[in-house]
Structures are given as structure tokens and as C-alpha cells.
């Protein structure tokens, strides 16, 4: 009889964590493959508007323009007015041309004539600022633009 009771111990066997590294590595590889390095440090708020009639952005031929209110940590210095960011710094409407030509120079030469300007604008911004940017783009003859949005539909909010 004692032969059987002897085996029964009160301790729970420890959970094996041997496969934990495997699981974490799996996650790691997933993120390494599915993501890209951040290129710019955002200086403005970016709550993109929603839309569902969208096309995919061709990343190899695009230049990004960000616009919106300065982020929380820059509010004291730059105020609450909507601002434009190209590359890693704030840009004035009058300086867009220079900043964009510089950004265009970084693209592959074959694609420089097919450049698409991607506008990433916070949904709280006034349209006036966007209009100013578009006017400037027309002057620069960069007429292909794309308004970057997030999936969804604005109608759901009303």
C-alpha cells in the first residue's frame, strides 16, 4: 500500500520554461520582418483622419510632409498653432520648397520625376494650412499628392 502513496508528493512540478526563448524569438522575428525602422522623429501630433476609399502608398518614390499641432513636449516653445514638419525639423510655409528639393534629392534618380508627396496631417488641423502646402506644391510642380489616412470611416463617429 505504501508503495502507491509514496509517489504522491504535495509539490507541484515546476512549469518548464525551456520553450520560452523559442516563443520570444518567434515574436522577435515577426517584428523584425513586419516592421521598418523609424526614420523621422515626430514633432507634431499625428491623429490621422479616417478613410476607406484608399490606395497604397508607393514608399520608394514618396516624400513625407507632416503637419499638426506641436507635440506635448514642444508646446511651450512653439505654441499651439498648426505647424509643418519635413524631415526632422519644423519648416515654414515659405521654406517648403527648399526642404522638399532636398528630400527629393535623396530618392533614386529614376524615380525623382515620379515623386509623390505624402501629406500626413493631424485631423484637428485647419484646412487652410493644407491649402497653403498644396499651393506651394503646385508652384514646385510636384502635383502628385496622397493624403495619408487610417482605416475606418468618419461616418461612424457621427
Amino acid at each position: 500500500m505504501s508503495k502507491f502513496t509514496k509517489k504522491k508528493s504535495n509539490e507541484l512540478p515546476p512549469i518548464s520554461t525551456a520553450s520560452l526563448p523559442d516563443i520570444v524569438f518567434m515574436l522577435l522575428f515577426f517584428f523584425m520582418v513586419a516592421t521598418v525602422m523609424r526614420e523621422t522623429n515626430l514633432l507634431v501630433e499625428q491623429q490621422l483622419p479616417k478613410a476607406d476609399q484608399v490606395e497604397k502608398l508607393k514608399k520608394d518614390r514618396s516624400i513625407f510632409i507632416f503637419a499638426g499641432k506641436p507635440s506635448q513636449q514642444y508646446k511651450d516653445k512653439y505654441g499651439e498653432e498648426g505647424r509643418i514638419q519635413i524631415g526632422d525639423k519644423y519648416t515654414d510655409v515659405s521654406n517648403i520648397g527648399m526642404a522638399l528639393s532636398e528630400a527629393r534629392g535623396k530618392l533614386i534618380p529614376e524615380l525623382q520625376s515620379k515623386v509623390v508627396v505624402a501629406l500626413k496631417v493631424d485631423d484637428d488641423t485647419n484646412t487652410g494650412l493644407v491649402t497653403d502646402i498644396k499651393e506651394k506644391l503646385r508652384e514646385l510642380n510636384m502635383v502628385k499628392i496622397i493624403y495619408i489616412t487610417t482605416p475606418g470611416n468618419q461616418l461612424d463617429d457621427y
Binding site: P21, V24, T35, P49, E55, T127, L137, I146, Y147
Partner: protein, 208 residues
């Protein structure tokens, strides 16, 4: 001599190292998810260029958005959710009489003579205030593009048996299976039936 087994390497810290790397990648990278509404801006008009072609009033669908994000469509207030249907009805109207050269033989609209003659002639004009929110601006653009996509899908279903938006997405992404050249030609054909004619006037400064 007894064979001594090699001591096992302690792999307990492997998980910690992997976590460290994982967190590094989570923080420094972003997901590729940039999608949006593509648009072509009109080139700058020179001062001395030819005067603009007169557009008939009935071929113009005017959408006004004021600084409080309210819509005025063809002189009457409208809710955003009704905009798409209104735009579809306007574009698809085909009001030209059947004996005129402007007759639209694929339109399924009401053939109302007081609305647009032909999708080729129909122009949607959006006018917004400088203080309109960008959110509303995109919402309006989205609804109008939605109206065009609806009509293009309908025509491509009728002519070729597939959805315009579906095939366009695959052709753009390079994942289209089959004759790509032919598909591109077909897409062009559909685009010619319902050309995207969205005009944007410079916003007025009434909001100031």
C-alpha cells in the same frame, strides 16, 4: 575511464536576451501601413492663358463646407452620410437626350434634364473654408471618391465581371494574377467612363 558527459550550457538567460531584442525592435520600428487618398493637383494657370471653358450650371455639383464643418450641397444643407448617394445620383444622371452626341448609354440614373448631361461633363466642385477641420475635409473627399468607386465598380462588373477597386489594388501592388497589361487597359477603360473630375476652389477667408 568512464565517459564524462559535457556539462550542459545554461540557457536560462536566453529568454532575457531575446526579450531585450524584442523590446528594442518594438520601440524603434513602425508598421508599414501608409494608405491614403491619392490626388493630382492642377498645374498653375498662367495669367495670359486662354479663358476657362464655360461649364453649364447643371454639370456642376457644388459642395460647400463651412468653418463649422457643415455641408451645403447644391444650395441645400446635407448630412455627410447622404453625400455619397447624392454624388452618385448626380454623376450617373445622364441627362442628355438620346439623340445628342453627349448621350450616356451606360448611365442608370434618372435622366433628369436639370442635372448632369454625362459623367464626362460632370464636375464636382468642393469649396471649403480655411477653418474647416482637416477631418471633415478628408471625410468629404472620401465620400466623393467612394461615389466614383461605386460607379466604376458597377461598370466593371457589367463589362468584365470584376470589381474595379479590387483589381486596381492588385495591379498597384504587383500581385495581379493573369494578364497585367490587359487588366491595366481595362482599368483605363473604366476610368474613361467615369473620369474623376473633382475640382477644388481656393478657400475663402470668411472664417477669419
Amino acid at each position: 575511464m568512464a565517459r564524462r558527459s559535457a556539462p550542459e550550457v545554461n540557457a536560462g538567460s536566453m529568454a532575457d536576451i531575446a526579450f531585450l531584442l524584442l523590446i528594442f525592435f518594438l520601440v524603434t520600428t513602425t508598421m508599414e501601413k501608409d494608405k491614403g487618398i491619392a490626388r493630382q493637383l492642377p498645374p498653375i494657370q498662367k495669367e495670359d492663358s486662354t479663358p476657362p471653358v464655360l461649364i453649364k450650371d447643371k454639370n456642376l455639383f457644388i459642395v460647400l463646407v463651412n468653418k463649422n464643418d457643415q455641408l451645403l450641397v447644391e444650395d441645400s444643407p446635407m448630412k455627410l452620410k447622404d453625400l455619397r448617394q447624392a454624388a452618385i445620383e448626380f454623376l450617373d444622371n445622364g441627362g442628355a437626350p438620346s439623340n445628342s452626341p453627349e448621350n450616356c448609354n451606360y448611365c442608370q440614373g434618372k435622366k433628369d434634364p436639370s442635372s448632369s448631361d454625362n459623367p464626362n461633363k460632370a464636375i464636382i466642385s468642393v469649396q471649403n473654408d480655411r477653418l474647416t477641420s482637416y477631418k471633415m475635409y478628408i471625410a468629404v473627399q472620401n465620400e466623393l471618391v467612394g461615389a466614383y468607386n461605386f460607379l466604376r465598380n458597377r461598370e466593371s462588373q457589367r463589362l468584365f465581371g470584376w470589381d474595379y477597386t479590387d483589381v486596381k489594388k492588385h495591379v498597384d501592388a504587383g500581385t495581379y494574377v493573369g494578364d497585367r497589361k490587359k487588366a491595366e487597359g481595362n482599368l483605363k477603360e473604366i476610368q474613361a467612363l467615369f473620369p474623376l473630375k473633382l475640382s477644388e476652389a481656393l478657400p475663402k477667408k470668411t472664417g477669419k
